[in-house]
């Protein structure tokens, strides 16, 4: 089980409370995590990645095991503790603006 923490605005948009739990077979990658979130919660399509370019939105960052993996290869497997659910995969909104 993969644990994902979403920004509060996206949890509200998808009517979620708390973490999202995903069942993914290996390899667990950032791209597959976001693909699965969009499949399970269609309201979030286009909010984490641009709907056309599929690029991560600039004001969002991906964290795994306290490391910023936003600029890593999205097809590179996440760290084992994230793949096993020991650590969450965090999608974080930039702290900026009003």
């Amino acid at each position: 089980m993969i644990r994902v923490i979403l920004p509060a605005h996206l949890r509200r948009l998808a009517n979620l409370s708390g973490e999202v739990h995903l069942d993914l077979s290996p390899p667990v990658t950032p791209r597959r995590i976001v693909d699965e979130i969009e499949r399970l919660y269609p309201a979030l399509r286009g909010t984490i990645r641009d709907a056309h370019t599929r690029q991560r939105r600039p004001y969002l960052r991906f964290f795994a095991c306290r490391e910023d993996v936003s600029f890593a290869d999205p097809d590179q497997p996440v760290a084992p503790p994230v793949a096993t659910g020991e650590e969450p995969f965090i999608i974080l909104g930039a702290i900026a603006g009003g």
């Binding site: 605005h9 269609p42 309201a43 286009g46 984490i48 709907a51 004001y59 930039a94």
Partner: protein, 371 residues
């Protein structure tokens, strides 16, 4: 007894203000979508419980919502706005060339004939249409492929298509306005478009009387006389009597002819409202007095409407989509400010009261007149 429902989009959510036909006592519902910018909400005239909303954020992009119960509950609908055909490019502020890039939906205009059909005006400027209640969107790209579009420039707020008017007497005819490209008309249901800017004069562009490039802020029409258009341009209040083929100035005795809004009384085609703003660098009312100006003569002769509005130390702005009229008798007029006030006049502008005065900055105001 009739009632009204006022749909207010703000920087941090949407609010729904409801009252009976007297429009004295109000119920405030919201915020809906708290924390998100709601550029515009608008209800369908065919089914007033059908409301469309544009929710946007620099963080999470564009989200579209639809309500089928008058705003009590909402569902997300399609948010894919894909430019059709060759994407093309336009001018940027510094003269460089930028490819067309979708940023947000500025304005939603439901069809007066079908609750599932709705038009969306977007930034970068383009017109989209949905015929399935907002689930999917298709660009009417004849507008963007007009021969002039490569030379369109953004206004300070972006290259946005902010006004959509559907001719109630001719379903094939529609008007749009784009900052800062100007006004355009289609007579074939949106397939092809003509610039309709003859008579506009803008001293801030290289050719003040150019065919396009004018910063039109808002256009309005009365449904009984749709060939007559009123325009609040960046500077100048204008009128056309021939569906935009020719324009002439009707600023008359206004204290400033800069502003954003223009609206027409629901029952009096020659009664119109503007809200003068001091200048394009000072986005607040002249002399710190919040005054709506009304003309009962189709322009040129204006009277200040001040009763109930702050007449000192008022430095708010009223944005282009933030004035609306209801269809009751006597006709009501509404506007919202960047200071978070929403004002109503239940007597055509003679007297005003604030419905709410501490909302986030108001981006848009629409009114539904309910049976």
């Amino acid at each position: 007894m009739s009632s009204v429902r006022v749909l207010v989009g703000t920087r941090k959510g949407a609010f729904i203000l409801s009252s009976d036909g007297k429009r004295q006592n109000w119920q405030v519902d919201g915020p809906h979508f708290g924390g998100w910018e709601i550029f515009h909400l608008k209800g369908s005239a065919v089914d007033p419980n059908r409301i469309y909303a544009s929710q946007a954020s620099e963080w999470f992009g564009q989200v579209m919502h639809r309500s089928d119960d008058g705003g009590k509950t909402w569902q997300t609908v399609g948010n894919q706005f894909q430019y059709r055909g060759e994407v093309g490019s336009h001018q940027w502020f510094d003269g460089s060339i930028k490819p067309w890039t979708f940023r947000r939906v500025w304005h939603l205009e439901p069809s007066p004939l079908d609750a599932d059909t709705v038009f969306a005006g977007v930034e970068d400027a383009a017109l989209f249409r949905s015929t399935d209640g907002g689930q999917t969107w298709e660009e009417l790209n004849g507008l963007r492929q007009h021969g002039t579009s490569a030379d369109w420039h953004p206004g300070a707020g972006g290259l946005c298509l902010h006004t959509i008017l559907l001719d109630p007497q001719n379903p094939r005819r529609m008007f749009v306005a784009i900052s800062a490209a100007g006004a355009f008309r289609s007579d074939d249901g949106g397939e092809s478009w003509l610039p309709i800017n003859r008579g506009l004069k803008s001293d801030y562009i290289p050719d003040p009387e150019a065919e396009f490039g004018h910063c039109v802020h808002r256009i309005a029409l009365h449904p009984a006389r749709p060939q007559v258009l009123f325009m609040q341009k960046h500077w100048d209040v204008m009128r056309s009597d021939d569906a935009g083929d020719h324009w002439y100035e009707i600023s008359g005795n206004l204290p400033s002819d800069f502003g954003f809004v223009v609206a027409v009384h629901a029952h009096e085609p020659d009664t119109l409202y503007v809200l003068p703003i001091k200048s394009d660098s000072e986005h607040y009312p002249p002399e710190g007095k919040l005054r709506v100006y009304r003309s009962r003569t189709g322009g040129n002769e204006w009277e200040a409407l001040t009763h109930g509005l702050p007449q000192q130390n008022c430095y708010v702005n009223v944005l282009r989509d933030a004035m609306a009229v209801d269809e009751l008798d006597p006709g009501g007029v509404y506007f919202g400010t960047t200071g978070g006030q929403v004002y109503v006049s239940a007597d055509g502008g003679d007297h005003w009261q604030s419905i709410v005065h501490d909302l986030p900055a108001v981006l848009s105001v629409e009114v539904q007149t309910l049976p």
